[in-house]
């Protein structure tokens, strides 16, 4: 029998080679799904560093994913997305830094690479469902409206990077590890005989910059291409020149180290002006703001757009930020966010994600304009 219909019980699991996505495949297999493993090959490798011990999605990680699939007796395919990854993630990462913003490349990677391009491939393989190893949960109400929730394990919650999910994608997605604690996921890996995997470290750094230092990565991509963007002035909030810098892309709002300016009180980057190539610094108190705009936003349940001003909201302004109580309202193509109490380091380019309790309402990119 040739099965070619889109099979609702067939699930494609995006497998990075890490413990979370591997255990996702194990869980789904145990639940009786027809499981297909998919790995993205994102970074070109020269023969010299082909055995890099790298981060997410490196060659050795792909072999780890394949090993799990072979042992589970499920198919595994590696899809080469080097070009797509460069275009959609790496290049825009660089461009954003050149504009004086501080991007989070994981947002674009999840939105475009995983939940658009890879999900489409999964559909082409007849998979009605698509799973990843993210720590987040999905629910739906009686009306068939889908919602994204924080993970059960709050310390591992990744709902922040998933705010671009839509009703279309949420309907198809399964997050098998979202309702487990990380320690239980490691235990499952161990119990199923994947001892090595269960001990694998979490990937925390940006996967494509190598050795975790994005300055060198950016310099190598930028220098020579646009030499004139490099040098510029460091100014205080009174617009007085107090130092110089080697390129705005080395700086991020809230940065305290590597400023090269002596001062009695600690100085922080408060603002980056890409047009004038100036870095502004100030004291900690000058880093506080009470409102900002979000652009390029996504609201997961359409009905929430109108309800936003009436909702009890909080906002995360970076991956590891606390949730700040706030109010918000959609205004034209932006969301206007007001903190209940001023918060520090509102960083243009980072994503701001709105929550109502543990529910992700939506999010977008923090705009530089106030």
């Amino acid at each position: 029998m040739i099965r070619l219909k889109n099979d609702k019980k067939t699930v494609a699991v995006a497998m990075s080679g890490g413990v979370d996505s591997s255990v996702s495949a194990i869980i789904l297999k145990e639940k009786g799904y027809n499981v297909i493993g998919l790995s993205m090959h994102l970074l070109g490798l020269s023969p010299v560093n082909a055995e890099d011990n790298g981060t997410c999605c490196s060659m050795s990680d792909i072999i780890d994913a394949k090993r799990v699939c072979v042992r589970l007796g499920i198919p595994h395919f590696v899809i080469n997305f080097e070009d797509e990854f460069k275009k959609n993630v790496i290049d825009s990462f660089t461009e954003e830094y050149l504009k004086g913003r501080t991007p989070n490349p994981c947002i674009a990677c999840n939105k475009i690479m995983k939940f658009d391009i890879l999900l489409k491939r999964a559909t082409e393989l007849g998979a009605g469902y698509f799973a990843t190893g993210h720590y987040a949960r999905i629910t739906h109400n009686k009306n068939g409206q889908y919602f994204l929730l924080e993970a059960k394990d709050k310390s591992k919650d990744q709902s922040y990077v998933l705010y671009n999910l839509t009703q279309y994608t949420l309907k198809r997605i399964i997050f098998p590890v979202g309702s487990f604690y990380k320690k239980d996921i490691r235990k499952i890996a161990m119990d199923y005989g994947y001892g090595e995997l269960s001990k694998k470290k979490d990937s925390v750094e940006i996967c494509f910059t190598g050795s975790g230092n994005y300055h060198e990565f950016l310099s190598s991509r930028i220098n020579g291409r646009l030499p004139e963007i490099n040098r510029g002035h460091i100014k205080n909030t009174k617009d007085e020149i107090i130092g110089k810098h080697d390129g705005i892309f080395h700086y991020t709002v809230g940065q305290r180290k590597r400023l090269g300016i002596s001062s009695k009180t600690p100085l922080y980057v408060t603002k980056i002006n890409a047009d004038t190539n100036d870095i502004y610094v100030g004291s900690l108190t000058e880093c506080y703001g009470s409102k900002f705009y979000i652009k390029d936003f996504n609201i997961i349940a359409g009905e929430h757009i109108a309800l936003l001003p009436k909702m009890d909201l909080s906002v995360k302004i970076r991956y590891s930020s606390p949730k700040y109580k706030c109010s918000a309202a959609v205004k034209n193509d932006k969301i206007n966010v007001k903190f209940n109490k001023p918060a520090k380091f509102i960083t243009p380019g980072q994503s701001a994600v709105l929550y109502s309790g543990m529910k992700v309402i939506g999010g977008g990119i923090i705009d530089e304009k106030l």
């Binding site: 040739i2 099965r3 070619l4 297909i36 790995s39 090959h41 490798l45 060659m59 792909i62 198919p75 395919f77 590696v78 899809i79 080469n80 080097e82 491939r121 559909t123 082409e124 393989l125 007849g126």
Partner: protein, 388 residues
């Protein structure tokens, strides 16, 4: 799910009789063939008998060289690099020129690139859009310092057969000292071959393409030719290939050729008729498919087609899920489907290249396999076309 293997050009399963032989050798011939005592002697004789058999299988002369290597790629590297290195040692002041085709296997092309980087002159001869080698171009490119021409017997991706007899006859007419090498990896075991019909000085092939285990290859070279080794160490294989011989692999390769020789008439007939059947069924069941490579002069076991509106990768993955093994061009690396240089050399457009897929049948392919495969290809294609 039962698997239907349609990728015999990538590698073949080991024939059960070969397997039996190999297991028995691994068990009963544990000695190092270079050792002076009983276990060494018996292993040595096994290897020399295999060498003798392969020599006669190829129609070679008693004094011609048969070197056992680890693979087709190693044989090719030894032939090309070994020849050039020897020549350069003898002719310190002269820069050698070597010629091959644009559609060779990477083993040849990358060995050429390697030599190119060390200062050797190279020429790559183009093909026309039917896959035919531009022989005039080849003959015109021959220079005073041309020492070697390497042309494959049959293309691994398209199955197109080059008329190597005519090609090398013409080459030899211009300069009979030019060394004629052929990569026969896809040829031996698929076509009736004898050196009596081909003016070759060197040829390379490997056992795993004709039902012997992976890890054994052969380089034939005519008496009087000189090469430098590329693997240095002991004196094995006349000092041309160091390393303890793969006794079981070598004897398995000879056994596989023996089986082929015994059944070749019947087998080649069967594969030819199944190949035609596969082709006819494919082309009658689907619109918008094109055959890649030469329409007539090709291996009958190989069908390389482009299917409009379907990406090779997606089709391959879907066929795998239906239990069918096929491939797109050469085996891919790190999931990267490198655009086939072979199809590119035909001048095909991008979409034709990106929608190409290769099926290659072999000894255990059945009519039912072909029917199932055609059905699956059809259904998958229609599904994928409807999704775009």
């Amino acid at each position: 799910m039962p698997r239907i293997y349609l990728d015999y050009n990538a590698t073949t399963p080991v024939d059960p009789s070969v397997l039996k032989e190999v297991c028995s050798i691994l068990k009963n011939y544990p000695g190092n063939p270079s050792s002076v005592y009983e276990e060494g002697r018996s292993a040595r004789i096994l290897i020399e008998d295999s060498r003798q058999f392969i020599r006669s299988f190829l129609g070679a002369n008693q004094k011609d060289g048969i070197i056992f290597t680890s693979s087709g790629s190693e044989s090719i590297n030894l032939a090309l690099i070994g020849t050039v290195n020897f020549y350069r040692r003898q002719n310190k002041k002269s820069i050698p020129h070597i010629i091959t085709t644009a559609v060779e296997h990477p083993a040849v092309l990358n060995a050429f690139k390697f030599l190119e980087n060390s200062g050797v002159e190279t020429t790559y001869i183009r093909i026309n859009n039917s896959g035919e080698l531009m022989l005039d171009e080849l003959l015109l490119s021959i220079k005073k310092n041309t020492i070697l021409v390497s042309v494959m017997g049959a293309n691994n991706e398209t199955g197109t057969i080059f008329p190597i007899r005519r090609i090398f006859e013409q080459v030899k007419k211009i300069n009979e000292n030019i060394i004629a090498h052929s990569d026969l990896v896809q040829f031996i075991g698929k076509v009736d071959f004898s050196l009596k019909d081909f003016p070759l000085d060197m040829l390379s092939f490997s056992g795993h393409k004709f039902y012997a285990p992976k890890g054994a290859g052969v380089l034939y070279f005519k008496k009087g030719l000189h090469l430098d080794p590329i693997i240095h160490g002991g004196h094995q294989e006349r000092g041309l290939r160091a390393g303890t011989e793969n006794t079981a692999g070598i004897a398995g390769m000879a056994k596989a050729l023996e089986i082929f020789e015994k059944n070749k008439e019947q087998e080649l007939k069967k594969i030819s008729s199944y190949g035609s059947m596969f082709f006819d069924m494919l082309f009658s069941s689907l619109e918008g498919i094109r055959l890649n490579g030469h329409p007539v002069n090709r291996l009958k076991n190989t069908i390389n087609i482009s299917i409009d509106g379907v990406k090779s990768e997606t089709l391959l993955f879907n066929l795998d899920l239906c239990g069918i093994s096929a491939s797109a061009g050469s085996a891919c690396n790190a999931g990267k489907f490198v655009k086939s240089h072979v199809l590119e050399a035909h001048g095909y457009d991008r979409s034709r290249i990106e929608s190409s897929i290769r099926f290659s049948i072999g000894r255990w392919t059945t009519e039912a396999d072909i029917e199932y495969a055609v059905n699956a290809i059809k259904k998958t294609t229609l599904k994928l076309r409807s999704m775009t």
